[in-house]
């Protein structure tokens, strides 16, 4: 796997070195290689900036591919013990206060997670972009002294939360440093940015994402700070069972 990733990077570097002629598909593929993995274990904190104050919610996530995910909230005490399990397109949450497991589906998936600017769908929809979108290169731009491609992506499959998106992709890191997520009508719904890029297990990965719901006028955004991340970790199958929610 490591070898293959290195090869991809070498090929991409070679391709760019020739005359900068890298295909759009290759850019997205490289971006997917950075962001997606067979599995990952993440310890992170979500800082939700409200109108008056901010809340910090710490959690640990176990993710395998695009279909299995388990999240356990660690703090603050009010949220500690809350768990979420995603199996395919279904999501269950467990709240220790009520000692109940609730399935979240349909329109509920569009509601924000713990008052943040991220919806349950945002958390669940993590399939590789190459499978979901057709991309067009709109141009290049320099931001903060770094070169970026501007890609416009349009859904090639039905049922995506965001049928259109525009991404500013760093030419060295192959990461969407800024993204605009649009509705079918073309209305801007959300923006996301990332920073604190560092090398983690031979891939570039951001240590902070910032999401902003553009429909909420007073939204100050939600930060998602990655404290620790481990790619391709061995995760036992039992982690993704519904029984685990109550443990």
């Amino acid at each position: 796997m490591k070898m293959r990733r290195t090869m991809v990077f070498l090929i991409l570097a070679f391709a760019i070195g020739q005359d900068g002629a890298i295909s759009v598909q290759e850019i997205i593929q490289a971006m997917d290689n950075n962001l997606n993995a067979k599995s990952r274990v993440i310890t992170s904190k979500m800082v939700v900036h409200g109108r008056r104050s901010s809340r910090t919610i710490e959690s640990k996530n176990w993710v395998v591919g695009t279909n299995l995910a388990f999240t356990e909230y660690l703090s603050p005490p009010r949220e500690a013990g809350t768990k979420m399990l995603k199996l395919d397109d279904k999501l269950w949450t467990y709240s220790p206060q009520t000692d109940r497991v609730i399935q979240i589906s349909g329109h509920m998936l569009r509601q924000s997670v713990m008052g943040s600017d991220m919806s349950y769908n945002d958390m669940m929809e993590d399939r590789p972009l190459t499978d979901l979108y057709d991309a067009t290169l709109e141009g290049s731009v320099e931001i903060d002294g770094r070169d970026h491609w501007i890609l416009f992506l349009e859904a090639k499959v039905k049922g995506l939360s965001y049928p259109k998106r525009r991404a500013w992709i760093d030419k060295e890191w192959f990461l969407p440093m800024k993204e605009e997520l649009y509705a079918k009508s073309g209305k801007l719904l959300k923006t996301s940015t990332m920073d604190g890029i560092k090398k983690v297990q031979d891939r570039w990965f951001p240590s902070r994402f910032i999401f902003r719901d553009e429909l909420k006028r007073n939204s100050k955004g939600t930060e998602w700070v990655i404290n620790e991340i481990e790619f391709n970790a061995e995760i036992p199958e039992g982690r993704f069972s519904k029984a685990r929610l109550r443990k």
Binding site: S105, G106, H107, M108, R110, Q111, S112, A155, K158, G159, L160, S161, Y162, P163, A183, K184, S185, K187, L189, D213, L215, K216, R217, N218, S219
Partner: protein, 393 residues
């Protein structure tokens, strides 16, 4: 003769009789008045629901459950032929239901978005106001309660966000074209109304609907496929259940009032048997059968109910008439649904013949029972003891 004696004795007791009669009359009045209020509430809720929402009944998509918004996502399809024919003949109106989020003044509010034909005349809603020339935004009609909650007025624009049939997010600008005054909070709270064709195009559900409401004179038809026919009785059952759930509270009050009246009469009967021992002895010594003496005392007690009925008509009749004519101002405007019931701003009680007869019968029976119970003691008395003034009470 017995009746004359009974009346004479009753009136002879003076203030004691009139107090008993007054308390019984209050019981009469309260039972009739409160029951009539509940009947009025039920009738008003029914009339408003039928007028604005139910009409003659409905056909529902098999997945549709109005109490469970989670079902809305799958509760839509093209209408069955028979139902479609009713819509084409303008004997029915189809409604497409979906969940959505609106962002008035930048705040997020989950709402139920309903698409309805602007030309419909089946339900009493000002849907014609949804016809506008401007096609750049989505014309939206809301109720006064929703307008108050979302702080919206005619001409205000806000973003509407929804999930279409392909489960894809979409969003666009909506503009308030009309704020409707409705007593039916179910059409108002957390609801936005848009033209049916617009809703179908927004949701990518061309020619589809969630339910169809048909006119009052239309008979349920065959050939409605898997769609479920819901009659008026079914559609108002929640409303009726809520009113019924509240009725035990009123029943407790009736029981307290009746108990007060019954205790007064019981007490008066016990006292009169104790005080009128010599009279009882004389009557029995003169040959009056014990059963007739018991009957006399029971009749005296029972006449309380008759006098109470007359007093109710004289004292409380004008009050009942006034409320029936002008209604009762509820103090607070419950019409926006805070109570979870359709309640008129001025509630008009409904006095039915059945209600008056039932109340009279129940109160009379109770009064007769409490009059008879102490009178039974007379049957155990010996005339000689009674003449000496020794009573068994």
């Amino acid at each position: 003769m017995m009746f004359k004696i009974a009346i004479k004795n009753l009136l002879g007791a003076g203030l004691r009789t009139w107090l008993n009669v007054f308390v019984t009359a209050i019981s009469f009045f309260m039972i009739i008045f409160i029951s009539a209020m509940y009947d009025g509430m039920r009738e008003h809720a029914m009339q408003v629901s039928i007028d604005t929402e139910i009409a003659g009944g409905a056909y529902w998509h098999p997945e549709y459950d109005p109490m469970d918004p989670m079902t809305f996502e799958d509760a839509h399809s093209v209408l069955p032929d028979a139902v479609m024919a009713l819509v084409d003949q303008k004997k029915a109106v189809s409604v497409l239901v979906s969940q959505a989020s609106i962002y008035p003044n930048g705040r997020i509010m989950p709402v139920i978005m309903k698409g309805i034909s602007s030309e419909q005349t089946i339900v009493n809603m000002p849907t014609q106001m949804l016809v506008v020339d401007d096609e750049t935004t989505i014309p939206v009609m809301i109720g006064t309660g929703m307008a108050k909650d979302a702080k919206l007025k005619v001409g205000d624009s806000f973003t509407i966000r929804w999930l279409d049939a392909d489960r894809t997010y979409d969003a666009d600008e909506g503009t308030i074209v009309h704020i409707m005054e409705t007593e039916n909070f179910k059409l108002d709270l957390n609801h936005i109304w848009v033209p049916l064709a617009k809703a179908q195009s927004m949701l990518a559900m061309e020619n589809e609907a969630t339910y169809v409401t048909f006119a009052k004179d239309v008979l349920p038809s065959e050939g409605n496929g898997t769609w479920i026919h819901r009659d008026i009785h079914y559609l108002v059952r929640d409303m009726e259940a809520m009113i019924e759930a509240d009725e035990p509270n009123a029943a407790i009050m009736y029981i307290i009032l009746l108990a007060l009246a019954a205790m007064g009469i019981f007490n008066a009967q016990v006292l009169s048997i104790f005080r009128r021992g010599k009279e009882i002895g004389t009557l029995m010594a003169l040959g009056m059968a014990r059963s007739r003496v018991v009957g006399l005392f029971t009749l005296e007690g029972g006449l309380n109910a008759v006098l109470a009925a007359i007093m109710t008509v004289i004292l409380f009749g004008p009050i009942l008439w006034y409320f029936n004519t002008y209604g009762i101002y509820m103090g607070i405007d419950y019409s926006e649904g805070q109570m979870g019931l359709i309640i008129a701003k001025r509630l008009i009680p409904v006095y039915s013949v059945g209600l008056v007869l039932t109340t009279t019968f129940v109160v009379s029976i109770i009064v007769l029972i409490v009059s008879y119970m102490p009178s039974r003691r007379i049957a155990k008395m010996r005339p000689t003891d009674a003449l000496r003034g020794k009573t068994a009470v």
